[in-house]
Amino acid sequence: MDCPAKTPGFLLRAAFPLLWLLAIASLASASASPEALKRATAAYKQANAAYEKTDYAKAAELYRNAIDESVADPRLYFNYGNCLFRLNQPGMAILYYEKARKLDPNDQDIAYNLRFVNAQIIDKNPAAESNALTRAIGFAHSAFSINQGLWTSVGLFSLIFLAAILALYAGAAFRGALIAAMVLAALALLALSPSLYFKIKEQESLQYGVVLKPAVEMFSGPGETFQVLTQVHEGTKFEIVETRGDWVSVKLANGKGGFVRLADLGKV
């Protein structure tokens, strides 16, 4: 028997919570295994204790064990970076500070130590040209992590439609406020989206490396037969353009580039 449909409400009631639950369940199941986290946390705490006693070699070994559990926590990378700095390995220290900053771009301690160690190395990393506007954009861009941005975008997106739904039934007194909320949320989302896009693009396509040896020659091609362009020193950060066998094409912040051996770099 064909009957006229009377089901939008039913669909709404059934599909909406289901989709949300599935999404949340998926996210929950994506995190690292609890056992690995437990082992890593234990090693991390022991390492912190060793560091407090200035036993940096032991602390470094324990931090390394925690990292080997495939746990990527900015605190772990930061503390390991400190340990490496104490052990007079500034290149490695910068590498792990960079890893920590990638996960938590807001952390002031990470930013400070990175600046501090960068000031100790031989090469001054050439900075790209900037002005007040580009610096402000850069500051806003680095003020949140990818996941924070993604959660915020979901929230703003949902807020827009929630306000729209409420505006359908709200009285004239509240409708204006709801529309204003919608517009603000839409503007915030509009401002957030390009930054998120570039962050994800950077995460997926850009890779950085740090020189780990005291001095490394940069060649004009992928081999020692090419001309030596310059010499870079431990701790210098590059953008990795591409990898060709044992050689990596790299680019400095000021646009200058060349080839260095893959073994001489640590990838952030």
Partner: protein, 610 residues
């Protein structure tokens, strides 16, 4: 020549005067106006009577007519075989208005220029012509002229030189690019990005902002040259190659005069006019040199300064009280790379508070050497009274002449410090407030929170389910919006509402019929069935069928376009229902099922047709 001058027309005369005034050398100019054919005149002119080899000049035959003529023939010109020839034409139009006895008349002229651009490869005196022009009845010899071609050397030479072929890392060198232009050269430009050409193995600086001409003797002759002086500081040890520097310039033919926009401020006093300009490039030869590394044994405070340095230190006060400030000025001067001059090594100033210095840098050119002077001004405040003899301030550098590390030192400075008033009068009171200053610096301490670690490199966007968080809210909005609109529409239209809800009503009545069937209640079953059929027809057609006789109901159905088959089925089902309710109809389940099937079949038919 006389005959030619007599034949010069108005336009030709203007051209000739123009030529005289601008060029200062006379061209041969011929012109004839025709009397046989008044509508057409022709005249010929040369842009230059003396040119250099390879320098282009022009022969122009100008044909003027009082009406527009398409397809004018080219003139016949002899003597062009010694030249490279390029031909072109150009057309212009002009008009002349005159008032005679109060009458205004206007006449238009059409001018066609036949232009021969000629270039001679060899020097000599060459005749251009005779030139003959013929068009219909008009025919004239325009004469001939001589052009003197002189040998012309290449426009510009550039010769690089280096003050030393071997130097230490960081030692100052002079690279001199001597540019010797010949006549007709203008607008010399060096490449804008010298750093690329000089390479990354050198730090460099131009010594002169503007390059001025100077006269030097070459093979006993005075020659005007331009020296581009660049100081270089090698950065890396080993063989260093300085690439050839291209020098762009413009070579003007005689007669062209242009103002220069280059750093070579030399062309205003030259005399060129007319002619054309060619862009050319002269390439200086590359130079190789050997850069030696600095020897081992550098002092701990050595910061890479290589050259000859001097240091001077002075205090603005030599007698002061505790708490008072004096300024210690240290000046380091030398010919090494400017950036390598860093803070000097100060003597023991433990009895003084020393603030970060104010630093200023200045560079100057002395002869062919770049001299850097860096000044450090320290504010120094003594804590305790006493007589102090400050040891010399020192700065370490490498002396390439002596091939050894050296130290530039100042003279010792004697300072007399007396007891300040504040301390004497206030006992243990703090002398004066001051800024909190860093004594040392270190990295920030490790993070030691007790919260367990988390894996934070698991990015949400990599999970497909994350993206499913987005669609629910717009879908919910769309559905709620549709439901709301539908509700509003139904509320305002009773007919539509009845029609829209007909399905739900039908469903309810059929449910009641099924319930009655289950309870084997024939009367209720047929009643529900009858109500379902009549109700659907009433709701869909918005006509009350209840209370109508069967015949009236059939009439209404036919009026609404219901097919005869459906009308007959309607009659059949209602008769079955009436019979079942009131006439003691079939009591067995099979008959009821058949009635139900018949009713459902009818309802489907009505639903389709309504």
């Amino acid at each position: 020549m006389k005959n030619f001058r007599e034949g010069i027309g108005a336009t030709g005369a203007r051209a000739f005067r123009f030529s005289i005034l601008r060029c200062a050398f006379c061209l041969l100019t011929f012109a004839f106006s025709s009397t046989a054919y008044a509508e057409v005149t022709a005249e010929a002119s040369l842009s230059s009577a003396q040119v250099g080899t390879g320098e282009p000049f022009q022969l122009t035959v100008q044909v003027t007519s009082d009406e527009k003529v398409d397809g004018l023939p080219w003139p016949q010109v002899q003597g062009l075989e010694k030249f490279t020839v390029a031909k072109s034409t150009g057309n212009t139009q002009s008009s002349q208005t005159s008032i005679i006895n109060g009458k205004i008349s206007s006449r238009a002229y059409f001018v066609t220029n036949f232009i021969y651009t000629l270039t001679a490869a060899k020097p000599g005196v060459f005749q251009v012509g005779p030139i003959h022009y013929a068009y219909k009845a008009y025919e004239k010899d325009l004469g001939s002229g001589n052009v003197t071609v002189v040998k012309q050397e290449a426009g510009l030479t550039s010769q690089p030189s280096l003050s030393k072929k071997s130097a230490f890392v960081g030692e100052q060198l002079l690279y001199n690019l001597r540019i010797t232009p010949s006549q007709g050269v203008q607008q010399i430009n060096l490449p804008p990005d010298l750093q690329k050409l000089i390479g990354e193995k050198f730090w460099f600086q131009r010594l002169d902002k503007n390059v001025e001409a100077k006269v030097v003797k070459v093979n006993g002759e005075n020659v005007r040259v331009f020296d581009v002086r660049i100081v270089l500081f090698p950065l890396l040890a080993g063989k260093a190659d300085l690439a050839g520097i291209p020098v762009d310039y413009q070579q003007a033919s005689r007669g062209q005069r242009r103002r220069s926009g280059s750093v070579f401020d030399m062309f205003d006093d030259q005399f060129f006019s007319g002619g054309s300009v060619v862009n050319l490039t002269a390439m200086a030869n590359p130079i190789s040199m050997e850069v030696r590394p600095l020897p081992p044994g550098a002092p701990t405070d050595f910061t890479g300064s290589v050259g000859e340095y001097s240091l001077a230190a002075a205090a603005d006060k030599t007698a002061l009280a505790t708490g008072d400030a004096m300024t210690l000025t240290v000046t380091i001067r030398g010919d090494g790379e400017p950036k390598t001059i860093t803070k000097p090594k100060l003597p023991d100033l433990s009895q003084f508070e020393v603030f970060d210095p104010e630093v200023s840098t200045a560079t100057a050119v002395q002869g062919s050497t770049l001299i850097t002077t860096k000044t450090f001004k320290y504010v120094v405040v003594p804590h305790r009274k006493g007589e102090y003899n400050l040891a010399p301030v020192a700065f370490s550098y490498f002396d390439p002449a002596k091939r050894e590390y050296a130290e530039a030192k100042s003279q010792p400075i004697a300072i007399s410090v007396s007891q300040g008033k504040e301390v004497a009068s206030t006992g243990n009171r703090i002398m004066s407030q001051r800024e909190i200053t860093d004594i040392g610096s270190d990295i920030r301490h490790i993070k030691s929170g007790s919260e367990p670690l988390q894996s934070e490199d698991d990015f949400l966007y990599k999970h497909p389910w994350f993206w499913l968080l987005f669609p629910p809210s717009p879908v919910a909005f769309a559905m709620i919006f549709l439901v709301r609109n539908r509700g509003r529409k139904l509320a305002g239209d009773a007919t539509l509402k009845r029609k829209t809800l007909a399905g739900a009503q039908l469903k309810r009545r059929l449910k009641e019929a099924n319930e009655a069937l289950k309870q084997k209640n024939a009367k209720e079953f047929y009643k529900a069935l009858s109500q379902a059929v009549v109700g659907l027809a009433s709701d869909k057609l918005n006509v009350e069928f209840r209370g109508l006789t069967l015949e009236d109901a059939k009439v209404q159905l036919r009026k609404r376009g219901i097919t005869e088959a459906s009308v007959n089925e309607y009659e059949k089902v209602l008769q079955l229902c009436d019979f079942g309710q009131f006439g003691g109809g079939a009591r067995d389940e099979k008959a009821w099922k058949e009635s139900l099937d018949a009713a459902e079949n009818l309802l489907r038919m009505l639903d389709r047709e309504l």
